[in-house]
């Protein structure tokens, strides 16, 4: 990651000037960063891209359904290349080329999926397509776990999402078994590589599921459940930061995902569900569930400002950006939804503006308190 390296480089110079690191230490650090990133970063990424291209080639080969080659030969070709990919992976791991080994595992998992499709095609097996995706995902997750392969984890998480999404679109109801698969992948990742990007993928996937509760739950208004889960997650992540991070360092992104999910629920109630003001006779200042829009809008702004405050206190950049983006979306949403009643809209924005400025003054006074020394200790 170039940007991080540049920042670190500046800081290293700064630390050297202060005498915190020796010249030898500086050289060692630079060497380590340079080696690690160049070897792992570039070759790993290229290896994964190459594996992905090969995998698509294999799938297209299956798709063409080439009848010139007997069925058994086609199956043998796929099975043989699957064995070869995993064999190559093992050889690369043993020879201590983990980045290429991961790429080979990814390729093997992709060929596994292609073979499932080929067999379905050979026997005109329509079956239940998401079921095939689930089996593919389980096989890939197993490979990711045993080989400690992050690219394979990424594929398995994506397949879990595809499976649940497909099932959901077929039945138009939430697919709860998804949570079990999600938990297994989470546990596997935690027991092995603890890959941060993997946790982000899992969090994104789970967030999408929780947001869908709002739209697909028949009992009551599911958005309130989504809102509750989001707020509870954010509160837990912010107030139990230390105990959570002692087990697994996820509290900071957890707070950001929580606020994002909570806001997504409020946004859905206000702007996406049911009637818009264009529906005849409906007041733009009321949400589809009958609640006054200004109450929901005020709740959203309070939620997002609370997010900003928490971000400032805990120095959580992700949470800060989520809250800023949410605030912009909220304000634009209200603006467009109430476009027909500009005077009321203007009143809402004026009131909100005055309140937020008042709040910022209070926050300024409160947050100035910590002495520079304690602030330094906290870091």
């Amino acid at each position: 990651m170039i940007w991080n390296r540049q920042k670190l480089e500046r800081q290293l110079g700064h630390w050297r000037e202060k005498g915190w690191v020796t010249e030898a230490g500086l050289a060692a650090i630079r060497d380590e960063i340079h080696q690690g990133s160049a070897r792992f970063g570039l070759s790993g990424v290229l290896g994964v891209i190459g594996a992905t291209l090969l995998a698509f080639g294999v799938m297209m080969f299956v798709g063409a359904n080439w009848q010139e080659m007997p069925r058994l030969a086609r199956l043998g070709l796929l099975g043989g290349s699957m064995w070869a990919a995993y064999g190559l992976a093992a050889w690369l791991y043993v020879r201590n080329h983990p980045a290429f080994g991961h790429a080979a595992v990814l390729l093997g998992s992709a060929i596994f999926g292609a073979s499932i499709m080929l067999i379905a095609q050979m026997y005109h097996l329509e079956g239940h397509p998401p079921g095939a995706v689930l089996v593919w995902g389980i096989g890939t997750g197993l490979a990711a776990f045993l080989f400690r392969s992050n690219p394979a984890y990424a594929l398995a998480i994506a397949l879990a999402g595809l499976w649940a999404g497909w099932e959901t679109s077929l039945s138009n109801t939430l697919h709860w078994p998804y949570l079990a698969f999600w938990a297994v992948l989470f546990l596997a990742l935690t027991l092995t590589t603890r890959w941060r990007a993997g946790y982000h993928l899992l969090a994104l996937s789970l967030s999408a599921f929780v947001v869908l509760i709002g739209y697909l739950t028949d009992v009551g208004d599911g958005h309130w459940l989504t809102l509750g889960i989001g707020v509870a997650t954010a509160l837990l992540a912010i107030f139990l930061e230390k105990p959570i991070d002692r087990i697994l360092a996820v509290s900071r992104p957890g707070a950001a995902y929580g606020i994002a999910v909570a806001f997504a629920a409020l946004f859905g109630i206000q702007f996406l569900e049911g009637n818009s003001y264009t529906d005849a006779g409906l007041d733009p200042w009321h949400a589809s569930n009958g609640m006054p829009l200004w109450v929901l809008g005020a709740a959203s702004i309070v939620l997002l400002i609370a997010g900003l405050v928490a971000a400032a206190i805990t120095d959580n950049r992700g949470l800060m950006w989520i809250s800023y983006i949410g605030l912009s979306m909220e304000l634009l949403g209200i603006y467009f939804k109430t476009f027909g009643t500009l005077l009321d809209t203007s009143l809402f924005f004026l009131t909100a503006g005055v309140l937020v400025i008042l709040f910022s003054v209070v926050a300024y006074k409160l947050l100035r308190r910590p002495e520079p020394t304690t602030a330094l200790e906290a870091h």
Partner: protein, 184 residues
């Protein structure tokens, strides 16, 4: 937790090859030992993303009547008993929510999933899927098959096992029987 690399390879290959092997074995069993029926059909030509071209087959026996006021939801399972009333013409003899207690020797039972229901002037009816609605063909052949069928007559040879599970065994196009190449 670290697993020896070669043990990892062995477990992954055992699982993944096992899944593929089981899929093939299950189908071969059904095709070899299932009872054969021939069903009249009409194709429509779509394209499956990864599985190449296929023809969607609609069967005459897919749309069956349901009892007046019978509650049926999409995804429910129904068993259709087929009978060969005229030689080579299989038609619906009975429809039920459970597998029939006794099946006559000339009858075959298909297990179907409800995908649509109708009611109104035409009477109460429902559309079933038996899992034999897709026929995969080589790239470019879907349209050809469809054109041939528009002028001719297409029947599908289906193998059915004792639980009602069905698999496509081959096609009969204008009376010419064309079995699918077996795996072995």
């Amino acid at each position: 937790m670290r697993v020896n690399t070669w043990i990892a390879v062995a477990i992954v290959l055992l699982f993944q090859t096992g899944v593929l092997g089981w899929m093939v074995y299950d189908r071969m069993q059904l095709l070899e030992s299932g009872k054969e029926v021939v069903l009249k059909t009409e194709p429509v030509d779509p394209m499956s993303l990864f599985r190449g071209e296929y023809v969607i087959l609609n069967y005459d026996v897919s749309r069956v009547p349901r009892a007046q006021g019978e509650q049926v939801a999409n995804g429910d399972i129904r068993y259709v008993t087929l009978e060969e009333k005229v030689k080579g013409e299989w038609s619906v003899a009975a429809v039920g929510a459970a597998y029939p207690v006794s099946v006559a020797s000339g009858q075959v039972v298909l297990r179907g999933k409800v995908i649509n229901t109708w009611s109104g002037d035409v009477g109460e009816s429902m559309q079933l899927h038996f899992g034999i609605e897709s026929y995969f063909v080589e790239q470019g052949q879907g349209k050809v098959l469809e054109d041939k069928v528009r002028t001719g007559d297409l029947r599908v040879i289906v193998a059915v096992d004792d639980s009602g599970k069905a698999a496509i065994k081959g096609l009969v196009l204008d009376g010419n029987v064309r079995y699918d190449e077996p795996l072995f």
